[in-house]
Amino acid sequence: MEKEILNCEQQPVAPEVKPPRMLTRKTKRLIFYTIMVSLPFLQFCIFYVYVNIDSIMMAFKVTYLDSDVGTYVQRWSIKDNFIGVVNFLKVRKWRPVVNALKIYAISWCTSGIFSVFFSYYVYKKFMLSGIFKVFLYLPSMISAVVMTLVFRVFMNSVLPDMINQLGNRTQENALGPLLMDDPFPYLMGYSIFFSLGGHILMYTGAMSGINDSVVEAAQLDGVNAVQEFLHVTLPMIWPTFTTFTVTGLAGIFTNQLGLHTFYGDAAPQEVSTLGYEIFVWTKKGSLIGSSPDVADPNRGLLLSEISAVGFMIMVIVLPLSMGLKKAMTKWGPSVD
């Protein structure tokens, strides 16, 4: 017996063949997930995180000519860019900021509200709603270059000529191009007109998500179209309305009013907006000021000053956006 055991112990053991290592489903999922997410996340890290950190740093750096060395150098400065921005706005009598605020307020009160009404009209399939939906959506499909060109030609040539002919005006009191002297009302009208259908797809999408039984219950209670809108539809789409109002506030200083499409780089200062100034001076891309005189009306914004504008806007608008969102959520119509 002992011998047998010994024999057994002494038998050469066949080398153990390990089965091929199989990845578990969990591991496979993790590897796939990591590979697929890594590129978009890397893009986010570089083109959002890095770019915005660099933008903030640019706001605190100035570029100047070092006359001793004869080259351009950068140095840190806490206030120079901000002083440059304030001087730039002072020369323009703060019109770019005031205009941006005016545009937001007027747009919200007109196209912001009417786009909800129109979406309701389309959602309830009132008369010709299919055609209206197409026409409300069409401006977002047609190039702004086309619409502004047609509008500009119409306002500067056709309409004044028609008014002059109808009113038998003489050459002395003839009406000139309407977009020359005080174009703000016309530009604002244009902006409202072509943004009436703004967000119509999102609003009608949100409205069609309302449960039919809720609408039917309201109708059983005898509500009319207006009551249904106020007590059923509006509370149900209030989160969507809040989102667009808040994001509109966040974009308050980027709104150009189509000025670059109307005037190129030469928009009248009376109608200029901060968004327009940022776009134009970014395009020009100056690192060094062409004029050292900060009171020079032709002095523009340097690239580092644009970063400073962005930083200032972020500091001001972020708490405003948060506050507005909280207020609209708190005091808005309740679904209950």
Partner: protein
């Protein structure tokens, strides 16, 4: 049941009755539609008008080529502009003028590698019509495909792979949407210059290779509502994760992807501002037409030609919109696509 149906019908018919508020909306919408249609049709008509007829302030009349006075003036115009000598006033005269002035040499300046003292003019590049058409289609199609697919893929991963990182992706997107970031363009241009991607389409594609936008939320919500059994069944049959995503999961959202793709295709086709800032030497149709009709107005000497230029951008898009309007206007909501 029958009673319920009849009650529902009566409510629907009551809804369609016009009360004063609805009538008010109807009138505004009617006015809006008439004005909008008039402007487009009027512009289209005037794009064919001989410039001399426009100078005679015949703004509302149909194009007329029979007036000998206009013809002689046109001849004078043609003699003064050598590049138009091959053309005779006809129906497409204004369009021919636009096509003649559009090609050219691009020579915008920009910072080379962001060296502060090297704002150098680039080598002038000739952009012919075919180059511009190719640039426009490539920029619109490839760019919109990236914009549509990246949020779709990341939205799917975030919705169906319940890792903590997925929650982070969702939070990042909400943060990006709420954060009012303005004025970061100089830093972006600086980075693109350093990477030698400024003035290239690849630079634009990489910038747009982002998931953090509204459509991430749309796809995220959509895939949260999709049952996990589709993917599990494919995996049981031996499909890899990638194959499952491409052949099973993405087709589920194909309508939504195509809607987003179409919307962005049209948006990018019309966009002149981004190429103007980021690709000044890559001419595209919309960008170039903006230059010749608005920025350098004197390039085209008269309004009918400028309007003809504008119509060249809008006609292909209008045709596309008419053909695919139901797809384009499919209701996208945060909860997905409604049909």
């Amino acid at each position: 049941m029958e009673k319920s149906v009849s009650v529902r019908k009566s409510y629907k018919s009551r809804n369609r009755n016009l009360n004063p508020a609805v009538l008010f909306l109807f009138l505004i919408l009617m006015l809006y539609t008439i004005v909008f249609s008039f402007m487009i049709l009027w512009a289209f008509m005037n794009s064919f008008k001989p410039p001399m007829q426009w100078e005679a302030r015949e703004y509302m009349q149909l194009p007329n080529y029979s007036n000998p006075l206009w013809t002689s003036k046109e001849l004078q115009y043609i003699n003064n502009n050598a590049y138009m000598s091959n053309y005779w006033p006809n129906l497409l005269y204004n369009y021919q003028k636009v096509l003649v002035v559009m090609p050219g040499k691009a020579q915008a300046q920009y910072y080379v590698g962001w060296n502060l003292d090297k704002k150098m003019p680039t080598t002038a590049k000739y952009n012919g019509m075919f180059t511009m058409i190719f640039n426009t289609i490539f920029y619109s199609l490839a760019g919109s495909a990236i914009i549509a697919v990246v949020p779709c893929v990341v939205g799917y991963l975030a919705a169906k792979y319940p890792y903590k990182f997925s929650t982070l992706l969702y939070v990042i997107t909400l943060f990006v949407m709420v954060m009012p970031i303005v004025g970061s363009e100089p830093a972006r241009i600086k980075l693109l210059c350093r990477l030698y991607l400024f003035d290239t389409m690849w630079g634009d594609f990489i910038v747009n290779f982002t998931f953090a936008n509204l459509y991430f939320l749309v796809f995220y919500a959509f895939y949260q509502g999709v049952s996990g059994t589709y993917a599990e069944a494919a995996e049981v049959d031996g499909a890899s994760q990638l194959r499952t995503m491409i052949q099973i999961i993405m087709p589920l959202a194909s309508k939504m992807i195509s809607t987003v793709l179409l919307i962005f295709f049209i948006g990018r086709w019309n966009n002149y501002a981004t190429p103007l800032v980021y690709m000044p030497n890559k001419w595209m149709i919309s960008y170039r037409l903006y230059i010749v009709t608005t920025y350098n107005k004197n390039t085209l000497g008269d309004d009918p030609s400028r309007i003809a230029g504008a119509m060249m951008i809008v006609v292909p898009i209008l045709i596309l919109f008419i053909l695919l309007r139901n797809k384009i206007m499919g209701n996208i909501s945060i909860g997905g696509v409604k049909e």
